[in-house]
């Protein structure tokens, strides 16, 4: 936001690009979880664009991003976040967009040394080396500490009016934002996607391990954001809604999964991802589903089971007790 404003201040036409990988944090979570529904339902990128008075283009890169996540040349960060490859990928996509739409250079809001991995001088140079042979990637917030780029040498932008911010403190940016009158200035201090989240990453790894295949579809990665995930057997797991919003979201998947829901007591819908191989395994799933219903203390809970391609039937089961559920079932 600040980087764009610095360039706008120089009378340069700026438009925003926002890439949607499927792992982006905002958007989905508030749409899914009812408790988050009262929060402002804004898309931050759109909000920023509107504050700046610039156009914003949101680009779906779900398919292309798979290659970045599955085979990152520079490896992963603390979790499954391939930040460096991700940045290279996004800069490359931005360059394509720049060429197609007759723009002259790209700006990003990075600050030298702000993030431990992806904003060190050497890693920022890697992004340049891997993506920017024509030196058209400008970082206005720290440009004065980096090698000059074409927009500066050509005099399209005045380097003196760019900044030389460094370090982890975000105070200078907050001050700058105040000077500009951006009163609701909020930039994520951590990651901008679920891949930086430990719990999410371990669910992703579990899914790949269980399927023995690292490919994924958008539905797969969306479902990892929702509900409790428990894996009682290597070949199946249950996804249990934690509240009404999640249940509604999971209901949208009833045609694709075997699902279970309590009928004698109030309780959540559970999707069975994978295959239960026999009646005992279905019963185990039903007992788990009962555990997360309001009948968890009852002797018997009726669970409606709808296996894919079969008629719905009811199982009367005794709910699993808390200590019947090994810790490592929880993903």
């Amino acid at each position: 936001m600040l980087a764009a404003q610095l360039i706008l201040d120089q009378g340069i036409h700026v438009e925003g690009i926002n890439f949607y990988t499927g792992f982006c944090v905002e958007g989905h979570t508030h749409a899914i979880r009812k408790k988050d529904r009262n929060k402002a339902k804004r898309n931050d990128a759109l909000w920023v664009a509107e504050q700046l008075g610039i156009k914003l283009h949101i680009i779906d890169v779900i398919e292309e991003y798979k290659a970045v996540l599955l085979n990152p040349k520079h490896g992963y960060g603390a979790n499954m976040n391939p930040c460096l490859d991700c940045k290279c990928f996004m800069v490359k996509k931005a360059q394509e967009w720049m060429a197609e739409n007759d723009f002259d250079f790209i700006i990003t809001g990075e600050v030298l040394g702000q993030r431990p991995m992806s904003q060190r001088r050497d890693t920022m140079q890697i992004v340049v080396r891997d993506t920017d042979p024509h030196e058209r990637l400008l970082r206005p917030l720290c440009a004065q500490r980096l090698t000059e780029t074409v927009p500066e040498t050509e005099g399209w932008v005045d380097r003196k009016r760019l900044l030389g911010l460094t370090g982890r403190s975000r105070k200078p940016q907050i001050k700058l934002a105040e000077n500009y009158g951006f009163n609701d200035y909020s930039q994520p201090a951590g990651g901008c996607c679920f891949l930086t989240d430990k719990a999410y990453s371990s669910k992703l790894i579990d899914m790949w391990t269980a399927r023995n295949d690292r490919n994924y579809e958008l539905d797969d990665i969306m479902l990892l954001k929702v509900g409790r995930h428990l894996r009682p057997k290597p070949h199946f797991k249950l996804i249990v809604g934690r509240e009404e919003g999640e249940n509604r979201f999971l209901e949208g998947y009833r045609k694709q999964f075997t699902y279970l829901r309590p009928t004698s007591h109030a309780g959540a819908l559970a999707l069975l991802d994978g295959t239960a191989q026999n009646k005992d395994e279905i019963e185990l799933a039903a007992r788990l589903c009962a555990r997360f219903s309001q009948g968890k203390q009852a002797a018997i809970v009726s669970i409606a089971v709808k296996e894919l391609g079969k008629e719905e039937y009811t199982l009367d089961v005794s709910p699993l007790k808390a200590n019947d559920i090994p810790e490592d079932w929880y993903l």
Binding site: N18, Y20, C24, G27, H28, H30, A31, I32, R37, K41, R42, N43, L46, W47, A49, E50, G53, I54, K55, L56, H57, I58, I59, D60, M222, G252
Partner: protein, 75 residues
């Protein structure tokens, strides 16, 4: 002037915005696009996207979670 209905129900933000954006690129100025969606986020995001691109929201309805946005394309 054409009028088209675009069903984006079941998609979660920002996909309804992305699909609407890409659809509008193929339409002419003055065309009307009626977007149907179910994610409440779209009620905010699609109008925000339209405002910054200069398209007009001429009607916006939310009936029990069924959202209908009527957009007049302005290129």
């Amino acid at each position: 002037m054409n009028r088209e209905t675009f069903d984006l129900k079941g998609l979660i933000c920002p996909l309804p915005v992305i699909r609407t954006q890409n659809k509008i690129k193929t339409l002419n100025s003055g065309d009307i696009l009626v977007v149907l969606c179910s994610d409440p986020g779209a009620l905010h995001d699609i109008p925000a996207w339209c405002r910054i691109h200069g398209h007009e929201i001429i009607d916006s309805q939310n009936k029990e979670g069924e959202i209908t946005l009527t957009i007049k394309v302005v290129h």
